[in-house]
Every structure is written in structure tokens, then in C-alpha cells.
């Protein structure tokens, strides 16, 4: 129904414009009243757009793959272990690392809102915050994994972690075979954001070529 689609898009567009105007109006009022400093707003945006993102988590995972002592520290108490690599703070005050094994796959969700480990993964993607993921991850994890093109062996146990408190979860995926002797930098390139949420697997040496 092309006509329907057209109306829908038009409707969405005008609503977004209205939101845009409201945001701008409120921002102006808040700045004029001195409640917010526009330079601080710019810094907040820059931090999460440019500095904090899943490459942070990838460095943590790569170090855990390369260094057994670090891996043990990460699995025992992730927050200080992650701080060793330089990441800490808001929405990552209490982090727990979850180890995937050939028999066990971990997957993280927040059914109630959008809790996500910001210091290591940045801000969550839209799908993580969306109703399809939040509703289905807990009851239909294999179906959700299929949406991501991931099929696990039938005898792999799947553990879902619903982030209902201020504990944030980081999945430690399995190190891909064929990476013996690789440097941490090279290993980090195999670590995808989704593999640290549990909706994906790391790249392999073949798939990353």
C-alpha cells in the first residue's frame, strides 16, 4: 500500500519536527536560566559519540583472551579489571563479566528499560532498546539469535541476564580458533559489539579478512 506508507512517513516526519522544535525551545530556556552550560552539553555528546564505544570493550576482551591472569581477574571482579584498561564510570559502576564456553552461551537484555554497560560498549543501539528485543530475549532467545543470523548447537545452554538493577553485564566471548600468538590489537579487531552482548559471535580470522 504505497499510499499508506506515504502517509505514515509524512506523519512521522512532522512529529519529529515537532520534537526537534520542543527540544530546541527547552534547551534555550535552560541555557538562559543558567541551569545548563552549552559547552558541557557539547562535551557530553562528544564523549559518547567519539570516545566511549564498543572498541573499549573489545580491548578488554582481547586482553582477557591474550592474558590468562587478566582473564581470571576480569571474571572474578570485572569493575577493577576494566578500570585497569582505563574504563570506568557512569552506567558501569558495577560490572560483571560472563564467560561463554562451548557448553554455555550468555546473552544480556534489559526488559524494563535500556540498561547497558556504557564505559565498555558506549550507548546502546536502537534494537537493544526496542520492544522486539526486550520482549523476546527472555522467552525466545534462540529466535532472537536467529534474527542476528546466529545458530547455536542444540545442546548449548543459553543463559539470559535481565539487567534489572545497577549491575551491568559484559559477555566474554570465546576466542576464535586460529588466533594463536595474535597480538591484543589484532585480537581486538575480531571482537564485535554484539559478541559482547551475546547476540553475536566474534569474527574469525577467515571472516575478518
Amino acid at each position: 500500500m504505497p499510499g499508506h506508507d506515504h502517509d505514515h512517513h509524512h506523519h512521522e516526519h512532522s512529529e519529529l519536527s515537532e520534537t526537534q522544535l520542543r527540544v530546541r525551545a527547552l534547551e534555550t530556556v535552560l541555557i538562559e536560566k543558567g541551569y545548563v552550560d552549552p559547552a558541557a552539553l557539547d562535551l557530553l555528546i562528544e564523549t559518547y559519540e567519539k570516545k566511549v564505544g564498543p572498541r573499549n570493550g573489545a580491548r578488554v576482551v582481547a586482553r582477557a583472551w591474550a592474558d590468562p591472569a587478566y582473564r581470571a581477574r576480569l571474571l572474578k571482579d570485572a569493575t577493577p579489571a576494566i578500570a585497569e584498561v582505563g574504563y570506568a564510570g557512569r552506567q558501569g559502576e558495577h560490572i560483571v563479566a560472563l564467560e561463554n564456553t562451548p557448553k554455555l552461551h550468555n546473552m544480556v537484555v534489559c526488559t524494563l528499560c535500556s540498561c547497558y554497560p556504557w564505559p565498555v560498549l558506549g550507548l546502546p543501539p536502537v534494537w537493544y532498546k526496542s520492544a522486539p528485543y526486550r520482549s523476546r530475549a527472555v522467552a525466545d532467545p534462540r529466535g532472537v539469535l536467529a534474527d542476528f543470523g546466529v545458530t547455536l548447537p542444540v545442546d548449548t545452554e543459553i543463559r539470559i541476564w535481565d539487567s534489572t538493577a545497577e549491575i551491568r553485564y559484559l559477555v566474554l566471548p570465546m576466542r576464535p580458533p586460529g588466533t594463536d600468538g595474535w597480538s591484543e590489537d589484532r585480537l581486538a579487531d575480531l571482537v564485535t559489539r554484539d559478541s559482547m552482548i551475546g547476540t553475536g559471535l566474534p569474527k574469525t580470522p577467515e571472516s575478518s579478512k
Binding site: 519529529l16 520534537t19 526537534q20 520542543r22 527540544v23 527547552l26 534547551e27 534555550t28 530556556v29 535552560l30 538562559e32 536560566k33 543558567g34 541551569y35 552550560d37 558541557a40 552539553l41 557539547d42 557530553l44 555528546i45 564523549t47 559518547y48 559519540e49 564505544g53 570506568a88 557512569r90 559502576e93 558495577h94 526488559t111 524494563l112 535500556s114 550507548l123 543501539p125 536502537v126 534494537w127 532498546k129 520492544a131 522486539p132 528485543y133 526486550r134 520482549s135 523476546r136 527472555v138 522467552a139 525466545d140 532472537v144 534474527d147 542444540v154 545442546d155 545452554e157 543459553i158 543463559r159 539470559i160 535481565d162 534489572t164 538493577a165 545497577e166 549491575i167 554484539d194 547476540t199
Partner: protein, 219 residues
């Protein structure tokens, strides 16, 4: 509250649709709504639980038809309005029409990095003993609070096993409604898929929630 935010186990929302090479923000106003929300926490004086309650506390049809940052922005507007920091006529005019209310602190550019780095840890000292230990079987209480809670509906009334005693943490049900932090013991509790979803459960699956002691009873 049993609002639209409590989505676990609901049907009909369709497939998960990941966006390839997704940008962090999808438009300029999303960036501003995000930054305003973070920055206003300091002068606004609200806590994270009040923020979450302000987001979920709206008619389900409205919640489900709004985008994520539209919900954030609507919550920000309502918290600002409730505290009398800005009036409707000022939002309509797009300008301040009267002097500001005194606020405790404003987020200065020089404080952004250290404020984010400090975050808001929720663990608190306690001299109470945890009522449960790892391995205990517990039942999530069948409660129906009208205000903010972090016990999802899909586990209520179901039996799980305490996997870990996390520590004593700020209790959102109290903190969200101005009742103070009222710290309580927090546990990771794991539920077998069959316990939650019956014969329709996928074999070999389980779900854990992080649940405060007042949510649980001995099973």
C-alpha cells in the same frame, strides 16, 4: 508499575532488526535531548530511579508509539515542570520569562569528565545480614506496585535459585518516589525457562534477574 515498559515475554512486536553501521545518534535533537537529560540531573536534583519512573509512567499506547529519545525528552520535561524549574509558557515562548529558581549545582564543562568517571555507584554499607545465600530457592513475590519497581512481571510468583549475593544496594522502589535510598540486599536469582514459560520454554534456557530482598520470599 505494570506499564508498557515491562516487556519481558510479550508477543507481537515482530523481529529484532539490527541496523548496519548504526550511528550513535540518529538526529541532532537526539544528541541534545541526551545531553540535556544528563546535564539536568545535577541542578534538577532527581536520581536515576526517578528518571526511569518518569519515563515509564505514561499511557501504554503513548509509550509504545514514542521513540526512545522522545521518551527521554518527555520525562525530562515532566521532571523539570514538576519541580517548577521551567513553566509551560516559557517552553511555548522558547525563552526564559522569569528569573531561575536557585539550584544546588550546574554541570560545568571542566567537571564533565570527572562526573562521568565517578558515575553513581549504588552499593551501600550495611550492618544487616543477607537473608538468603547462594543456592537458596526463593519465590519472587506476587506484587503489583502502582509505582516504580524493578521486579519484572514475568518472574512474579515463580521460583528461582539465588546464584549470587551481590551486596547491599539502593532500593529503586523507594528511591524513585522520594522515599530515600533505603538500601537492601541484592541477589542474582536464576529461573529455569520451564518455570517461567512452561511447556513453551526453549530447552536448556534460563533467565536471571537482579532482585532486591523485599522482592523475594523463601520457597
Amino acid at each position: 508499575m505494570n506499564g508498557a515498559q515491562d516487556m519481558g515475554g510479550k508477543h507481537g512486536f515482530g523481529p529484532v532488526e539490527p541496523e548496519p553501521n548504526e550511528p550513535v545518534f540518529h538526529s541532532e535533537w537526539e544528541k541534545r535531548a541526551f545531553a540535556l537529560t544528563l546535564a539536568m540531573g545535577m541542578p534538577g536534583g532527581w536520581n536515576i530511579d526517578m528518571g526511569r519512573f518518569a519515563r515509564e509512567n505514561r499511557p501504554p499506547a503513548e509509550y509504545l508509539s514514542m521513540s526512545y529519545y522522545q521518551i527521554w525528552f518527555a520525562a525530562l520535561e515532566s521532571m523539570i515542570r514538576e519541580r517548577g524549574l521551567v513553566s509551560d509558557d516559557e517552553i511555548a515562548a522558547g525563552h526564559s520569562l522569569r528569573p531561575p529558581k536557585p539550584v544546588k549545582r550546574v554541570l560545568a564543562p571542566d567537571d564533565v569528565a570527572k562526573t562521568l568517571h565517578r558515575g553513581g555507584p549504588t552499593e551501600r554499607e550495611t550492618n544487616t545480614q543477607a537473608a538468603f545465600k547462594a543456592g537458596d530457592r526463593v519465590r519472587a513475590k506476587n506484587i503489583q506496585p502502582l509505582t516504580h519497581t524493578r521486579l519484572p512481571a514475568y518472574v512474579r510468583g515463580h521460583i528461582g535459585t539465588v546464584e549470587r549475593v551481590i551486596g547491599c544496594h539502593v532500593f529503586p522502589d523507594s528511591n524513585a518516589i522520594g522515599g530515600g535510598e533505603n538500601p537492601q540486599w541484592l541477589y542474582t536469582v536464576r529461573f529455569d525457562g520451564r518455570e517461567l514459560w512452561g511447556a513453551d520454554a526453549q530447552p536448556g534456557t534460563s533467565v536471571s534477574v537482579d532482585a532486591w530482598e523485599p522482592y523475594m520470599e523463601k520457597a
